[in-house]
Symmetry: C2
Subunit: 230 residues, 2 copies
DNA sequence: ATTAAATTTTAGACAAATCTAAAAATAAAA
DNA sequence: TTTTATTTTTAGATTTGTCTAAAATTTAAT
């Protein structure tokens, strides 16, 4: 059994941020990573050299970079830890889903793999964190689910909220106000072409209107409901 | 409300170790602290200067040192976190009491006070960790309990195990083998003056013999049973 | 195809935490 | 009470992660 491979908290943060950025853009740039980590491009370059020496990423001067297999594995372990701790904080310690991120940023750097696997079991092997982001399994496999945003959902088709793209507290507050949260089943009653706003219906509630801006940030599952239900 | 005052993990480790050492010896020496932290006396001196500058301890060159009020408060918060996490690991994640120390050494440095107070509530405000050491409350108050070691227990008086002084895995293994753990009610049936060994009886079990060495490391409550029972 | 602008990297510095080796202070022994 | 031994501190170096300012490279614009 591989012992707990340890990377510093800073390295783990870099790996995680690179992972997220390359999901969107394929290749990652120094400036983009510096912005994501709230640090300086020069600092990023310093760290990239170390990560390259440790064979965690593919990197050539001035040409951008991305994780190799080893780096992706490491990033996924950190993401797994982050999301499991978030789930724990919300489901067991009664935190609001909008206040757990910072604490999870710290907890995700606790090394013990055994701890995380036990926590996973204790929580009942959840598939997604409180924001709807999927949790990688013990081997680091990330199940990808087909998500579309609410603006793309056809009129009259019921779908279940499975993620929130922009997780600002303002956004979360707005959704809370409209009784929309993870797992909520909803249906588009009307689309207004003028401003692309939507009238949305949640069961047992009066219909509400959502702006295009909001709708694009609400992700719903295209197909079947997410598994983790009952 | 005071925001989370943050000390580095290393500083917290120093504070905690000083606290424990001064419990026993009143004043703490550089060498003793270096030994406890597995580091070098020179490194301890370096850190002491910083802690003194932050007004966490009373320190004069060459004369030993101890925590002041501020330092003691900080140390107790770390100890509270350590012991609550240990309790969580054993009671919720099914870890053995002999394997939780190292993980708790990491978890104790997570800053959020809200997290710890929520965890405390989630666990039902336990009074002692899995080794029987008392858990400071949210204000850092440490309830001291009257403990004696098993060798001091009078013949025939039933007492309840409330702590283990030497928590080596060898010791814990031996106790486990003899079905002695926290909360176990036991009674001394016979004392052998030759080697000061004891014959000890646990309810529903055949009597076992414990060496003086072991007996001195098993702490029992003098008086009433510890509160945290049912 | 040059020039200008933006991006990225290097060079050199700094803070935190640690170390080794040597010096200073204190304690113990002859 | 000297001398010796032990303890503690200082001086100077090292590692990790970060920074600023300047140089190198790439990209965009005229």
């Amino acid at each position: 059994m591989a012992p707990n491979v340890r990377y510093s908290a800073s390295k783990e943060n870099h790996l995680k941020a690179i992972f997220h950025l390359q999901q969107e853009h394929g290749i990652v740039t120094t400036n983009a990573l510096a912005a994501a980590l709230q640090t300086r491009p020069a600092s990023v370059t310093d760290m990239l050299k170390k990560l390259k020496d440790q064979k965690l990423l593919i990197y050539e001067r001035y040409k951008g970079f991305k994780l190799n297999n080893e780096g992706r594995k490491a990033a996924l372990q950190v993401i797994r830890k982050h999301r499991l701790w978030e789930y724990f904080l919300v489901k067991k310690l009664q935190f609001g889903w909008d206040e757990v991120h910072e604490i999870a940023e710290e907890l995700e750097h606790i090394a013990s793999k055994k701890l995380i696997d036990r926590l996973d079991a204790f929580l009942g092997f959840p598939e997604a964190d409180p924001h709807g982001d999927p949790i990688p399994d013990s081997q680091g496999r990330l199940q990808t689910r087909r998500q579309i945003n609410l603006a793309q959902l056809p009129l009259g088709k019921v779908a279940q909220v499975s993620g929130i793209a922009s997780q600002t507290s303002e956004m979360l507050e707005l959704l809370q106000y409209n009784h929309i949260r993870l797992g909520t089943r909803l249906e588009i009653k009307k689309k207004f072409p003028f401003d692309e706003s939507l009238e949305v219906k949640v069961r047992n509630r009066p219909p509400v209107t959502l702006s295009a801006r909001v709708a694009k940030n609400v992700l719903v599952n295209d197909d079947e409901p997410i598994t983790e239900r009952r």
